[in-house]
Symmetry: C2
Subunit: 426 residues, 2 copies
């Protein structure tokens, strides 16, 4: 029965019972972490074969005959470019393979624009004001990068099929201080939504007032499907931008952090040839090159894109019961009460939970007091400010299904308690 | 007999003979590269055991019990900090371990100062003018970083025991636009000189006009001795700065690029606690962490600093005949002629050759025409501008001793030809 249809007496009765349950849980001294999109140990174990790829008598030549153990090949070995290009569904000639972190590439891309501009435009550090569009809820580390450079962040609602393009089109075409937009087009962090073909096409056809406006296309979950049979495919944004006459309007990012090992994977950028020119020039000052041995290790281990796809299904097999543990509990305990909404994604690393306005912070705090860490409430919004205080990000990957069952129970109890308290005080 | 004591007739006779020799060499179609400080394949082979350190059934916990395969531990695992601290001869608490490139750390350090300042000072991008001291001859990639950020570079002579400190002290104390100095304190690139204790102490005791002045102490060749018995030890600059009341005045850099694999080593920064605070804050925006598996691989392979020292003696054994091949040829062919000076370093990667003023560019070009690539003349000076056009950097590591013998012969012939031409035209 929906909570809104319960009498005050009935609500108070439930509250009393829920508080007892909460006290019992607190006494158990649990220690659970659902705060970050961190793979579980079982997921890391999938990639252990990577350590058997190389041995001391191995021949370390890449396909061009270059010894990857030595200096050189600044922008990545060809076979690694091809692999990362397939993950992003772009052409290898548009790809630079970097080190271990796509976040680092995004940071560098903003930092370079700040210090030296974008393809010859005025460096952002010389401008009065730089603004950025942030579809919300979104990824806290994206927002942290733009905040770090003093960029004013403007929120845009993230709908079921992508950002609200009416708003994006209007803002971008009217304000030349807007220099970028953060996008996670596939299995979005945290809602799990995917951009529809129409949204991708509208994004590619933007007519920005600023010549140095760029779409920051973080294809972080490009191959991170949860199901064999339901795999979302999104349009290639580079190709769509070309078709729309905006070939230089996008930077795409990806990594294998959640394919092999977080922190020990390889990351890549894809962009037009014109965009790559100043990037490679700056890169030649910044580094002699990234870890090519690790690039070759990844290629040798996966062999080709089919290898990646098969590997990701092993991840999916481990991830599904984790997502299911949370979703089952939500279905069983929150559906009828009708006091929250949540996403049931086809991929990615998160479940997004929307609770009653003004309740998220309290719920997260109550969970913490009971020994369970969630992503800080508000983290999915720029400046950590969720205006309705209603969104909670759940990262089910790190815990075991058993721990997730426990964690979901705690979360559900806290959601119910805080919601009833709110209802009774109103 | 010294060339200056030869008659014009004798010089012309030699020139004719040398030109014949040069033509013969050109006909041989050699292909040699002494341009970059790139380890030879034989040196890379020394570290092949690194690929047998890990295998699929290995336990990937660091000494604190953290699984290095996953996200976390932004500033490096403890045992890697300790190893890098020993290489730099500093305390592990002053160390951050990064990814594969100390050049990248130096770039980031300048970039951070440019965008956000140094420990709260005005960001350099907001200043009219930023200047930098560059001891010359020096490392071209250092100069490229400061040039990239539009920093005005001022040359300071590099003497036998370090930069000319009278000049450094004067400039730094008088001009608050001077924000840094590039230093390679041990087995300097390219001359191979080492900073004396007096120079280190004077450097640490500088009284800069700018509060955000920093010494960029690139300890690139800290453990890169050529001889077992003659190993230079320099003072710990962090400690000397503390003693002199300037605890925050230095950033020190090092890497294992020329210990294990260039591009696949680990790199580190050492600085005071106060300097590390804003760096770690920025780093937490820039990345989730560097490749900890590779950090652990290095520690497990070397075990401790003694392991590093023993390993470096294997490098030395391979490097000595390479240096000797060049030096023997110079001694035999250039000493009596007295037309050049060169260094005979105890470590590092380079021999620095000073030829007659106005001859370096021509010599390097002649060598190139004969199939032998040297570092571009002028590269050891800011903006590629060697005012006397006399310094040539020789990197003997990549070629074999046999190739180096051939290369040195070509170089010597070109030095003689260009020098005589210069003498005859004067």
């Amino acid at each position: 029965m929906a909570y809104r249809d319960l009498s005050e007496r009935e609500l108070r009765k439930r509250l009393e019972y829920l508080r007892e349950q909460y006290e019992e849980i607190c006494a158990e001294e649990v220690s659970l972490d659902m705060s970050r999109g961190k793979p579980g140990t079982d997921q890391l174990d999938i990639s252990m074969g990577m350590f058997d790829v190389f041995h001391s008598s191995y021949d370390f030549k890449d396909e061009s005959g270059f010894d990857v153990r030595n200096y050189g090949v600044m922008d990545g070995i060809s076979e690694a470019k091809r692999l990362m290009a397939e993950i992003m569904d772009v052409s290898p000639k548009n790809v630079i393979v970097y080190g271990n972190s796509s976040l680092n590439i995004m940071y560098d891309t903003v930092a370079r624009s700040y210090a030296e501009g974008v393809m010859g435009s005025t460096p952002w550090c010389q401008l009065e004001k730089v603004k950025w569009l942030c579809p919300v809820p979104g990824y806290d580390r994206h927002f942290a990068v733009t905040e770090h450079f003093g960029i004013e962040m403007i929120t845009v609602p993230l709908l079921e099929d992508g950002p609200d393009m009416d708003i994006v089109e209007k803002l971008v075409s009217e304000d030349d201080a807007i220099k970028g937009i953060w996008c996670v087009p596939k299995y979005s962090n945290p809602t799990g939504i995917c951009y529809s073909d129409e949204v991708v096409k509208r994004m590619a056809a933007l007519k920005p007032a600023a010549e140095d406006f760029r779409i920051y296309w973080d294809n972080a979950y490009a191959v991170h499907h949860l199901y064999e049979e339901e795999q979302v495919k999104i349009l290639d944004i580079l190709e769509e931008c070309r078709k729309a006459g905006n070939p230089d309007m996008v930077f795409e990012f990806a990594s294998t952090s959640k394919v092999t090992f977080p922190g020990s994977g390889i990351a890549a950028l894809a962009a037009s040839k014109e965009n790559l020119k100043p990037i490679k020039k700056q890169m030649s000052v910044q580094t002699i090159g990234h870890d090519k041995i690790n690039q070759l290790r990844h290629v040798r281990y996966f062999k080709d894109f089919d290898g990646i796809k098969a590997h990701m299904m092993k991840h999916a097999k481990l991830m599904r019961p984790k997502f299911q543990a949370v979703l089952n509990e939500f279905d069983a305990e929150l559906k009828d009460a009708d006091i929250a909404k949540w996403t049931n994604p086809l991929g990615g690393y998160f479940i997004s939970l929307d609770v009653m306005d003004g309740c998220a912070k309290k719920i997260v705090q109550m969970c913490k007091n009971a020994g369970m860490v969630l992503t800080g409430a508000g983290a999915t919004y720029p400046y950590g400010n969720d205006p309705t205080d209603s969104n909670i990000r759940i990262a089910p990957s790190y815990a075991t299904p058993e721990e997730l069952l426990m964690a979901s129970r705690i979360l559900v109890i806290c959601v119910k308690i805080v919601t009833i308290e709110k209802m009774l005080n109103e």
